[in-house]
Symmetry: C2
Subunit: 526 residues, 2 copies
C-alpha cells in the first residue's frame, strides 16, 4: 500500500532544503560543463533525450531527489494509478488516460467491461468513420466529399487537440497524409464562431461537438451557432455533426449527430488529447494511421515513466527538479520554449495541463498545505521569444526556470543557406547559445551589459517532430505534472476552482445580482 503524506512531512524533503546549492556559472564552465552536458542526460522515447545539465543540480542533489522519489513512492503511486485505483479523490474517479494508448498494468474493469478494450473500440469506431469520410462513403447531401473538419470545444477539448493539429499540420502535408483542414471554435465570444464559420465552406464541413458532460455552456452555445449557419445554408445539421462525449451524456444517443464517439469520467479534459477528444479531429485531419503513430509515441514514453529508477525516468526527474526549483529555490514560474514553430500552441496546452492540475492549495484529503504548489507556466516558440520576453529572463530581477525543446531537423525540409548556414542550423545554434548564456552569463564592466547567469534550463532534443515524437513529448509532460502532484500530495485531476465563476455568471444572466456584481453587470450592459 502506498502512503499519501504531505511533502513537508518527508525526511528527504527536509534534507533537500539543506543540501548545498549549485552555482551554475561555475559548474557549467569549462571541462565541468562539458562533462555535465555529456552525463546529465536521460533517454526518452523515439530517440529523444532529456538533458538537465543546465539545471542547478549536481550528484548530491540528485541523490536526495532520488530519496524523495522513493519516500514519496512516486513509482508506486503511478502503478496504483494505471492499475485503476481511485486517484482522483475529489471526484472519486480512476485516472485512466494512459490506457487510451497502452496497457501498463493489469486489466481494469468498469462500467461493465474492460476499459482498454473500451478505448480501443472507440478508436476503431473513429478510424472507421474517418476512413469512410476520406474514401467518400460518408458524404454530404449533394454526394460530395467533406473537405474541412471543425472542432467545437473549450479547455481540454480545444487546447490539446489544437496544439497537436498545428504540430503535425506541416508534417502531414509534407508526408502526403494531409486529409482535411481543421478549424476550432472555442470561445463563447460570438465573434469566434462567426469568424470561423465565415472562413469555411459549411456545405463541405464536418463539425465535431466535444463535451464530456454534454452541458458545457460555451460548447452548447457554439453548437447552436453552427446549427443556425447550417440551417441558413439549407443544410441538415444532423448530417454534418458528430459528437465526442460520455455514454451517459444527453448527446450520446441524439439523432442530431451522424455518430457519437465515447470517452468517460476517467479521462480529464486536459488529459484527453489521446482519447476521442483528440482522436476524432486528428484522425479526420491526418488519417487514423497518423493518430495511431501519435499514440504509439505516447505509449513508449509512458513505459519509461513507469521506471522506478529516477535516472531512467525522464518525467519523474523533470518533476523532481521542478519541485526543487519551486519549493527550495523559490521560483514562482516556469517558461516552456519550443524551438519549433509547429509547437506554437504547445505552451498554451501545457499551461492548462500544469496550472489546472497543480494550481491547488489543499491536499488530496482537503487539508490546506503549507507549501507552494504548481507554478505559473507560460511560453512562446523560439527564436520569436528571444526578441520578446527573453530580456527579463536574462536580466530581470526574478529567475524563471526554462524548459527548452529542440529538433535537429525541420518538418518540411525546405531551407536556405545564408552566410554559411541553413535556417535550421541557425535555429539550433540559437537554442544551444541561449542555454549557455542563461547558465553562465557574462561579466561586463558596464552593469547594463552584464549577464549574471545562474538561470537554469533543461532541453528535450529530438530528431524531428514526427507523430511519435509529439506523442512522447505530450506523455512526458502529462506524467511530469502527475508526479509533481504526487510529491505535493494534491489531487491533480479535479478542478473545483472553475465552479464559482460559472455559478456567478448564471446569476448575472438571470439578473439575480446585487452589490458589486450588479454594478459590473450594469457597466457591461448585461
Amino acid at each position: 500500500m502506498v502512503a499519501w503524506n504531505n511533502m513537508d512531512t518527508l525526511a528527504s524533503f527536509k534534507k533537500l532544503q539543506s543540501v548545498k546549492s549549485v552555482k551554475l556559472q561555475e559548474v557549467m564552465a569549462g571541462e565541468s560543463g562539458k562533462e555535465r552536458v555529456k552525463n546529465y542526460s536521460v533517454p526518452m522515447a523515439e530517440g529523444m533525450t532529456y538533458n538537465y545539465a543546465a539545471k542547478a543540480v549536481d550528484d548530491d542533489i540528485i541523490a536526495v531527489l532520488k530519496e524523495l522519489a522513493d519516500e514519496a513512492q512516486l513509482a508506486e503511486k503511478f502503478e496504483e494509478l494505471y492499475n485503476g485505483a481511485v486517484i482522483n479523490t475529489g471526484e472519486k474517479r480512476m485516472v485512466l488516460h494512459h490506457m487510451t494508448r497502452g496497457q501498463l498494468g493489469k486489466a481494469v474493469n468498469a462500467d461493465g467491461g474492460d476499459k482498454r478494450e473500451f478505448y480501443l473500440g472507440e478508436q476503431k469506431k473513429i478510424a472507421d468513420f474517418a476512413n469512410k469520410v476520406h474514401n467518400g462513403e460518408i458524404v454530404n447531401a449533394a454526394g460530395e466529399k467533406f473537405t474541412t473538419v471543425v472542432q467545437i470545444g473549450i479547455g481540454g477539448s480545444d487546447l490539446g487537440p489544437r496544439a497537436m493539429y498545428l504540430a503535425l499540420e506541416n508534417w502531414a502535408k509534407k508526408n502526403g497524409c494531409f486529409k482535411m483542414e481543421a478549424k476550432f471554435i472555442s470561445n463563447v465570444d460570438p465573434d469566434d464562431a462567426a469568424a470561423v464559420l465565415a472562413s469555411v465552406d459549411v456545405a463541405h464541413s464536418i463539425f465535431i461537438l466535444v463535451s464530456k458532460s454534454g452541458t458545457t455552456l460555451e460548447t452548447l452555445t457554439n453548437e447552436s451557432f453552427v446549427k443556425d449557419a447550417l440551417k441558413k445554408a439549407g443544410l441538415d445539421a444532423s448530417k454534418h455533426m458528430i459528437a465526442v462525449t460520455s455514454e451517459t451524456s444527453p448527446l450520446a444517443k441524439s439523432s442530431d449527430y451522424l455518430q457519437a464517439f465515447f470517452m468517460d469520467d476517467y479521462i480529464g479534459g486536459r488529459f484527453s488529447s489521446t482519447s476521442g477528444v483528440g482522436g476524432a479531429i486528428l484522425s479526420l485531419a491526418f488519417g487514423p494511421d497518423v493518430f495511431a503513430r501519435f499514440l504509439n509515441g505516447a505509449a513508449e514514453q509512458d513505459k519509461l515513466c513507469a521506471n522506478k529508477d529516477l535516472l531512467k525516468n525522464p518525467a519523474m526527474l523533470d518533476a523532481l527538479i521542478g519541485v526543487y526549483e519551486r519549493n527550495v529555490l523559490g521560483y514562482p514560474s516556469t517558461a516552456v520554449l519550443p524551438y519549433s514553430q509547429a509547437l506554437s500552441r504547445f505552451p498554451a496546452h501545457l499551461q492548462q495541463l500544469d496550472m489546472e492540475s497543480n494550481g491547488k492549495s489543499v491536499n488530496r484529503f482537503g487539508e490546506p498545505v503549507s507549501y507552494v504548489t504548481g507554478p505559473v507556466i507560460f511560453g512562446e516558440p523560439g527564436t520569436n521569444g528571444q526578441h520578446s520576453f527573453y530580456q527579463l529572463l536574462h536580466q530581470g530581477t526574478s529567475i524563471v526556470p526554462l524548459q527548452f525543446i529542440g529538433f535537429k531537423n525541420s518538418q518540411i525540409g525546405t531551407d536556405v543557406d545564408i552566410q554559411g548556414s541553413t535556417s535550421q542550423q541557425k535555429l539550433c545554434a540559437n537554442v544551444a547559445a541561449q542555454i549557455v548564456a542563461f547558465a553562465c552569463g557574462k561579466k561586463d564592466e558596464n552593469n547594463n551589459k552584464n549577464f549574471e547567469g545562474g538561470r537554469p534550463s533543461s532541453i528535450i532534443i529530438g530528431d524531428k517532430l514526427t507523430p511519435e515524437a509529439l506523442g512522447a513529448l505530450l506523455a512526458h509532460f502529462e506524467n511530469k505534472v502527475m508526479f509533481q502532484g504526487f510529491v505535493w500530495n494534491i489531487n491533480s485531476f479535479d478542478q473545483e476552482g472553475v465552479q464559482l465563476g460559472k455559478v456567478l455568471a448564471k446569476k448575472v444572466l438571470a439578473h439575480e445580482t446585487e452589490g458589486a456584481l450588479k454594478e459590473y453587470s450594469d457597466l457591461l450592459n448585461i
Copy 2:
C-alpha cells in the same frame, strides 16, 4: 529639472510599505463593493473606462500612490520624454513613439528636421502606396492586383502588428474596409517561412521587410527564403517587396524594393506599432483611413496620460497599482485577460512590451537596484482561459494580479439567443462574475471547494473594439509600462539582455565553441 532617484530612496515609497493593506473580501462585499465599482473608475479615450474597484487599494493607499507619483515626478518625466529629452540613456536616444500619433509638447528637431513632420511624411508615403495598391496603380508583372500582404519581421516588427491585425480583421470585414489578407513570417525556423509561403499565392503577394537596422538575422534569412520562392515562381522579387527600415540602414536605398518607408532610432521595436512598422501592413490590409483612426485613438489616450492628476490619468494609476502589487504585496506575475477573441494575441504583444521594457536589474545609470522590477506577463482570451489556467488563479498557492478587458458589443454582430441570453451577454456575464469570484471568494465547508478570494483585478471596459478603441488600449499599456519604468528608475527603452545569446549563436555557427556550448552544438547536430 526632474530628479532620477531609485524608488527605495523616496519617502512616499517608504510610506507605502507601511500603509494599512486592504482585505478585498471585505471591501468588495455588499454596499461597500457597490460603491467601489461606482467610484473607482477613471475615464479613458473613446468612451472606455479603467475600473480598479477590485484592486487591493483604498482611498488611503491611493493617496500615498499620489504622493509617489508626485515625488517620482512621473508627469514631469513624461513631459521631458515627449519634449525630446534623451530618456533612453543606455543607447543615448530620445523616445518619440508618441509623436507617430500626435504632438503632445513642443516641436522636436533631429536628423535635419521636425520629427512630427517626418513621421507624418512617412505615413503619407505609406498611405499613397497603399491607395495605389488598392486602386490598381501598383500591380504585379501580369498587371493584376495584389491580394495578400506578408510581413517579414520578428519581435516588435511581428508581435504588435500581428496582434493589431488580428484585433481588427473581423471588424474590417464587417465594416467593408477589408482590403488584403495579411500573413506574418517571423521565426528563423525554416518551417515558418515554408508554411506561410505554401499558404499564399506569391504572384499576388506584397512582402514587407521590416528591420530598423537592416541586420536582424531572422528577418534577413527569411527575406532570402521569400526571394527564393519568388524566383522559383519566375517573378522579379524587387516588384513584390517593400521595406520598413531606418534611413541609414543598408535596405534604405536598395533597388531590391518597390519602395522603402522609414522609422528611426527614437522608436523601439516594441513601441513601433503606430510607426511604419504597423502602418504599412495595417494600411495595406485595411486602408490608410482605418490606420489613421487607430492613431487617433492612441493620440487621445496619450493626452489623458499626460495629465498630472493621478485620478485622471488611467495609465499612471494602473502603473502605480502595479508597483504596489509588485513591490509591497510581492506578487511576481500579472495576467492579461481580454474577453475578446479578436485580442487573442494582444497578451503576447504586452508580454514583449512589458517584459522587454522593464525586465531590468540596473537603474538608468547602470547601478544595480535593490528591489524587484517588471513582473512576468502572460494571458489568453476569456472565456477560454477559464477552462485552462484559471484553476490556479482561483485556488493556487500564489496570487496573480489580473487585468481584464471587456467590450459591451461584439465586432461582427452575428449572435444566437440560447437560454434567454446572447453569446455576447454570456461573455460579459462571465467577466463580471470572474472579477467578483476572484475578489470575494466563497466559503465552503469542503476546503477543496473553498474560494479564499482576495485576488485583485482591474477591468478596462469599452463599447466595441474599433480601430480607435484599439489605439487607445495600446497607448494605455505603452504608457503604463513607461510610468512603471520611471518609478523603478530603470531605462525601459533598451534591451541589452538580448545580446549575449546573439553573440554565442554566431560562435556556434562559426564552430568556434568549446566546453558545454560545443557539447550542446553536437547534440543538436550543428
